[in-house]
Symmetry: C2
Subunit: 401 residues, 2 copies
Amino acid sequence: MISVKGVKIATTNCGIKYKNRDDLLLISFENEANVAGVFTSSSMPAAPVTWCKNNIKHGSAKALIVNAGNANAFTGKHGEEVVLKTAEKISETLPCKNSQVFISSTGVIGETLNYELITSAIPNLVKNLQDDSASWHKAAKAIMTTDTKEKLVSKTCKILDKKIIITGFAKGSGMIAPNMATMLGYIFCDANISSAALSVILREITEDTFNSITVDSDQSTNDTVLLFATKESNQALIENPFDDALEDFKKTLKAVMLDLAKMIVVDGEGAKKLIEITVQGSENKKQAKDVALSIGNSPLVKTAIAGCDPNWGRIVMAVGKSCPETSPEKLIVKIGKYQLTKDGAKHPEYEEKIVHEYLKNSEVKITVDLGIKVCQEDTKATIWACDLNEEYIKINKDYRS
Amino acid sequence: MISVKGVKIATTNCGIKYKNRDDLLLISFENEANVAGVFTSSSMPAAPVTWCKNNIKHGSAKALIVNAGNANAFTGKHGEEVVLKTAEKISETLPCKNSQVFISSTGVIGETLNYELITSAIPNLVKNLQDDSASWHKAAKAIMTTDTKEKLVSKTCKILDKKIIITGFAKGSGMIAPNMATMLGYIFCDANISSAALSVILREITEDTFNSITVDSDQSTNDTVLLFATKESNQALIENPFDDALEDFKKTLKAVMLDLAKMIVVDGEGAKKLIEITVQGSENKKQAKDVALSIGNSPLVKTAIAGCDPNWGRIVMAVGKSCPETSPEKLIVKIGKYQLTKDGAKHPEYEEKIVHEYLKNSEVKITVDLGIKVCQEDTKATIWACDLNEEYIKINKDYRS
């Protein structure tokens, strides 16, 4: 774990839901950070999401506050008041402008959140802000709900010969589906990049990382990913998102975001396996992604893989329901390196036992060639999903008890 | 159970998969029956589906044969041969034309089906054809796979003062999702209605019955519903599907098909509850149905209901991900008769305990008003789904063992 210069962290238990663990995180930026964000496309966005969507236009951040245990979603006027009171308390304590305070909440939907639990904790949080490595781990833990593991990734890269640090953390375990896939995710770097450029970069990379994972096809009301740049690297400001100097940065940022995205899938509620699904031979990328998600969201495919059962007919079913443009003769399905189909039927050399053994791995690959067009890099898509186990049901039958 | 005049039935065990139960059904029509059908929209249709789609154009049926235990789907050229050999054996034994033989298969996808098991059983099946009530129960049982109960419904109605009998049976338990929802369904009547008129009527009613149910959002490669009319009622031929004389017939046919559709949901793999979801206040019927299915297919909603947990925030989530046109203030969510939301937040008089008690019922109603337009009969939609339990996972983790 590598701390990002200019970022300070404090966590505490403020008693919203959990006992004996921190559930409130405050991050402050010593100097103003540039910021970009992507948010849930739900028509029922939580109050903090609406707040962040408004603030992101200004592109400047001084603080981020996140609580776990209550989503402050579908909470009406009161939910808006919670957000305003929180921002006001931070802006007068730090101090900074209201528009520089970013807020996230995660937990149950529709429950009133007592903002005094948050506002009364803020003065002490501000006093206790730290920039050491241990604080980053505490931050990643404080935002967890049904997550079983913290999700924290750190990498370095270069921009214009200056070393840049990118560190991010995320949470998410259930209610995870593509289209701003997730969850909460925060990525911090010390680069000097304008917020407009950050926004373009974040959007593009989100599509192939957080927006390419699925746990249960359900999309949250609170999904938020924020990318902060503290500008402490002393490198010349970059305002053009397509500047060649950003090549290494973009590659590294994508690696950080993909690592975090996969960590979410692996920690999917009850999940035991990471399933990587690549669809190619398609008309275009959207078609490939739609088919990949149809496979990755199919409860029958996910339960078969949970049982290490090479019941590949279910993959054929999931292709069939999502892609009218293909047909049995065109389709090639592979599990791992094993080709299972040929000429619209089971491959003559298919050996079930070998594939059954392969499926015992904790990471499983499925490749589907739709046979519509010749395979090309820009028309294929990869998504990551997890298997479906009894534990998912157990966790979600009594989430709130 | 009321037998339909002109229909004869025989069942046997032919050894495809199951022991100690019948797995092959033959139905013959003494005179040619008029027939209409609807089929899976999958681009991976099973060989018998492609066969029936071709034959249905002629609108005339002499026989229906159905096997359980092997879907004959994704079986390439060999699958086509299985269907042809089966049809030829029946057409020479009965006798009739190949185009008058309708064929369905249900079971595992991608496994080769040994047609000799079927063809060698046909002569005895033809010899043993019966028209008694017990045979209808045997028919409904012979086509079952993971179903735990037979699904057989019988009702009477009138056309032009003649009594008409409508009897149908169906199978389906997993891989059940809308868009030719399911499964196999066969409905028989003794009315004298042209196959063209039957086709219009069947399509319309399927949309609100079999195409309005969901167990697991997965759509089969073998979905088939066939409607046969044996013309034995001696009523004057009706060729216009909109003839007023068909009013009672249509109402009764819909009741038969809806009963069968609900039986499938109730027998959904591991299901304990029938969930009826009505969405109204919508722009149009498609929007209402999309939102209803988003709720009915949400694993988080389905598990909450399995646990009798009134976690209505998950219903809000499912609306939010499927309907960009609404917003929190517009939305009204009811469970049973209890209104849970108001002004974009929890209803002030909502009492969780009462709704928790209500959710212990085996039938549960959810009503959502999107608040986009004033409620109208022709813009609302109702679908039926089931809860999601550990048993679904257990059944599907080792379907084939």
